[in-house]
């Protein structure tokens, strides 16, 4: 790393590390996976730093990388699960689970709140990718519709309708999961 690039990168890292880690946590719900994505995001940021054309702000760019990386990670995880029958999940002798990875390990969620948050997140994750992203940016990241529109490269009107549809679908999924 040259000194100048390194300094710029360090500044970007310190300004965005919390944002990236927390957004990755909202998508992946597991601290270990969020750490992996955070690393990948900043490696991509470093590699793209020279070719970054300031058409959008650095923060918007970092948001986009994080969202894309998280969605790709989720897709890869889903694919792995689908082809999971190729490898046994259990020890042949003891019949115990080989991989007992938690599906919800969010360090920002308090114990008394955990069950409710986990249920909501599981329903959010059943939504289509764009609805999920719009809802997470609005509810967790507290972004305005204009900011979400810039991050998602959509019009404000489209974002409004995405959030509306996301809330409707989420409502249906939550009442289904309750009943």
């Amino acid at each position: 790393m040259t000194k100048n690039v390194r300094d710029t990168f360090d500044d970007i890292y310190h300004a965005h590390k919390v944002l990236v880690y927390n957004l990755a946590l909202s998508y992946l719900l597991v601290a270990e996976d969020a750490q992996e994505i955070t690393q990948d995001v900043f490696v991509s940021v470093y590699q793209g730093l020279k070719s970054f054309k300031e058409q959008s702000s650095i923060t918007t760019w970092v948001y986009r990388i994080t969202i894309n990386k998280s969605l790709d990670f989720l897709k890869a995880k889903q694919r792995k699960k689908r082809f999971g029958f190729f490898t046994s999940l259990f020890h042949p002798e003891t019949n115990e689970l080989k991989y007992d990875k938690p599906t919800f390990d969010h360090p920002g969620v308090q114990l008394e709140n955990r069950e409710a948050v986990e249920r909501i997140f599981k329903c959010i994750h059943q939504l289509p990718d764009n609805q999920k992203t719009a809802l997470l940016l609005s509810k967790i990241e507290d972004k305005t519709q204009a900011e979400i529109a810039e991050i998602m490269n959509l019009s404000a009107k489209a974002v409004e309708s995405l959030i509306q549809r996301a809330k409707q679908n989420l409502s249906a999924k939550l009442s289904k999961s309750e009943g």
């Binding site: 790393m1 990236v20 308090q110 948050v117 909501i120 967790i140």
Partner: protein, 90 residues
Amino acid sequence: MKHTPEPDLTPLDRIARVDAPPFLLTRIRQKIDESSRTRISPTFQWVVGIAAVLFLALNTFAILKVTQKTKSTPVLAQGMNVVPTSFYNE
């Protein structure tokens, strides 16, 4: 239009922002160093590309030359009267 009730998302408001673990930066720097070490330089990519194009061009040229030669061989042989094509006809 059917009215759907707003979902209760208040538990999400109580999620605290957490700081990224301090060891992440070291790991990121390590990954960046590793990727820059394994990455092929653009100069090398250009050199390999030009060499491949030259190789293909030379091969095409050689093949064309050989086919041209084989086509012109009977004509040349006839001109030099090496092939007695009219021998059996006489």
